[in-house]
């Protein structure tokens, strides 16, 4: 092998990571599709959706999000959501039905973490003035392999930049006052779930109407996540 032995240890680490990363490449696809590399996938599994939501989450958590990264992730999430919408069912069944075992583990752990963080997020957000009319917080993850909320929510707002990068020159005085709302930066807002919120469904009856309620909740959640509800921006001058 032509490659240097001097970096062997590092390369092996990278190789392992690389191998691991590249080997699981096909798990995200609907296994109903053959010829994974060639066929344009019709339906993404919920794992790809979860991964994208996590990326969005992570991106928004940055003090100054990389706008390009954010926009690309959101657009990708929209595509995934559009492909998954027709497969929503009541009560939600794991779809695709048999995912590889690696995917199961990923789904279970990511669902738990995601629902926990979403629940905590909603709990914190309910403290923000003006959100008292918020719908009931999201129910928990349900059975493993079940995507959050059945049908993924429509992603509306991308008004994530609110005070984060709003410029004094840009918005004038309104922008300046918006900056003083620090609720977006409260660490609790973004922290992983505390113990108390972990796995308890908030309301039994709500669960029956799961898809509609979930969708609305998720819609709301995404809106708040990207700041539309919490921080209504008055239209700037001259725009």
């Amino acid at each position: 092998m032509m490659l240097s032995k001097g970096l062997k240890r590092k390369r092996e680490e990278e190789e392992e990571e690389g191998k691991e990363a590249l080997a699981v490449d096909t798990w995200w696809l609907d296994p109903g599709h053959p010829a994974v590399a060639q066929a344009p996938p019709a339906v993404a599994s919920s794992s790809l959706f979860d991964l994208s939501v996590l990326k969005l989450h992570h991106s928004l958590r940055q003090s100054e999000p990389d706008l390009r990264h954010l926009v690309l992730v959101v657009n990708t999430l929209r595509r995934i959501q559009a492909s998954m919408a027709p497969t929503a069912a009541l009560p939600p069944v794991p779809s695709p039905p048999t995912a590889p075992s690696i995917a199961d583990n990923l789904l279970a752990s990511s669902d738990a973490a995601l629902s926990a963080s979403m629940a905590s997020l909603l709990e914190d957000l309910s403290h923000i003035e003006g959100l008292s009319q918020a719908p009931q917080p999201l129910v928990d993850e349900g059975p493993p392999g079940h995507p959050i909320g059945g049908a993924p929510p429509s992603l509306g707002a991308l008004d994530l930049l609110g005070p984060a990068t709003g410029c004094l020159l840009d918005d004038g005085l309104e922008g300046l006052f918006e900056d003083t709302d620090t609720s977006m930066y409260d660490s609790e807002l973004w922290a992983p779930a505390s113990e108390g919120h972990k796995s308890s469904p908030e309301d039994g009856p709500g669960k029956e109407e799961a898809p509609e309620l979930d969708e609305a909740e998720l819609d709301y959640l995404m809106d708040v996540l990207v700041g539309t509800q919490a921080l209504e921006r008055p239209p700037g001058p001259g725009r």
Partner: protein, 427 residues
């Protein structure tokens, strides 16, 4: 990255000046290092001019924006040279928010024989001075000093990704994710906004500006690329705010290659005019494309940089490599184009012969004066002795920044924190 490498040393931009005499690099720590080519000596005709360090200075420091509670990175995103007009050299360097004009000049003489100061610079008591003398200039060891001549600040809400000097040499533009501003070199407290794609309602944002460049000869023309794989050519004479493009370049999506990642991989990471001004070259995640300015509906040439990654896109999405921004460059005659890849590989494409080559920038494989050996990635089946399999590629070793000498076959390749300079072998 080697053990012990500090992140501040990661090279973030590389650029030759217009004569190729100087090569500037910027790094994550906000420093600029300028290399100068040694004059070829008559005694050693076989020894091509080598590049040695000429000047090093701290261009940008980390800043803290107290109003928004944000740290502004000092990483140098781009360096662009101004054409030389006198003995001094001028360059623009930018981080995410602030562009600076630096003057780099030589001092090889110093004045001696002051009347009011002694040799150490201490003031002399005027009462002790009985005669006057005229100070003379005496040679000294060459000193290269860099001084910031202009600071262009507070004009960008979003992250600056490009700067480009206009062919009029009086103005330049700076582009961030949503806006492009036009500056006059002499005026730092104001700039003209010439492109603004920020939607009135940020909820509607679906596209950002990824790169921008002035036409090399027409000072009214520039292009900018987007995260959706489009290029817009604008004419500043048409209107003050160039929100309406003169030309719109976009290739229709190939339906057989469609995936959830289609948009991400179509996002253009770099756009460069050819030296002739007749073509533009764009780099997206998997390809380099050459466009004729007269044909907007598709590129005239497409080169596959590392198509073996197409089936690995999900993993590359997972580890964020799919968001890596590779640059691309033309050679002086616009006949060869070059761009980087992973595993410290970089690729060259000859537009005339249609041949391409993969080379590697690494210490183990590059001793001084050694000839670079072409590399090959094995995509399946039996791997030959010299080949490397896709799964063995090191994705942390990415070559994002390269530069080509304006007239000679000398290239500069930045591999993380190392700079490699390769030259044509002398016959």
């Amino acid at each position: 990255m080697e053990t012990g490498t500090t992140e501040a040393d990661i090279i973030s931009t590389v650029e030759f000046n217009h004569t190729g005499e100087l090569l500037a690099t910027g790094d994550k720590g906000g420093r600029v290092v300028i290399f100068q080519r040694e004059q070829e000596s008559k005694n050693q005709v076989h020894r091509r001019g080598e590049y040695n360090v000429y000047s090093t200075f701290q261009s940008h420091e980390p800043e803290f924006d107290y109003l928004k509670s944000l740290e502004i990175e000092e990483k140098i995103n781009k360096i662009r040279w101004l054409p030389q007009q006198n003995a001094a050299y001028f360059l623009l360097s930018t981080n995410d928010k602030t562009v600076k004009l630096w003057k780099v000049s030589e001092r090889d003489k110093r004045p001696e024989g002051y009347n009011l100061k002694d040799e150490e610079g201490r003031l002399r008591d005027p009462a002790t001075i009985t005669t006057l003398r005229v100070p003379v200039l005496r040679p000294m060891d060459l000193m290269v000093e860099a001084t910031p001549r202009r600071v262009f600040a507070n004009a960008h809400t979003y992250h600056i990704n490009s700067i480009s000097v206009n062919s009029d040499y009086e103005t330049y533009m700076s582009a961030d994710d949503l806006r492009i501003n036009l500056w006059n070199f002499e005026i730092t407290n104001q700039s003209f906004n010439i492109v603004d794609i920020k939607p009135a309602n940020m909820e509607e944002l679906t596209e950002v500006i990824t790169a921008a460049e002035f036409h090399p000869h027409h000072c009214n023309t520039f292009v900018y690329s987007s995260s959706k794989g489009t290029i817009r050519l604008c004419d500043m004479r048409a209107s003050a705010l160039c929100d309406r493009h003169t030309k719109f370049f976009e290739e229709p999506e190939d339906p057989s290659n469609r995936s959830f990642f289609s948009e991400i991989i179509s996002s253009i990471s770099d756009v460069k005019f050819s030296h002739s001004g007749r073509y533009i070259m764009t780099r997206d995640y998997l390809t380099v494309k050459v466009w004729d300015l007269n044909m907007e509906n598709r590129p005239i040439e497409t080169y596959q940089v590392h198509d073996y990654l197409r089936s690995k896109l999900c993993s590359l999405y997972e580890n964020d490599c799919i968001f890596d921004k590779f640059e691309c460059v033309w050679n002086g005659s616009d006949s060869v184009i070059m761009t980087g890849s992973y595993n410290n590989f970089f690729r060259m494409f000859d537009r005339n012969t249609k041949r391409d080559v993969t080379l590697e920038a690494s210490r183990e494989n590059s001793k001084p004066r050694a000839i670079l050996k072409p590399r090959k990635v094995c995509v399946g089946g039996k791997r030959r002795k010299d080949e490397i399999s896709v799964d063995s590629l090191d994705f942390s070793k990415k070559i994002l920044h390269t530069a080509w000498h304006p007239s000679e076959n000398i290239i500069a390749v930045a591999a993380t924190n190392n700079l490699y300079i390769f030259q044509d072998k002398v016959n």
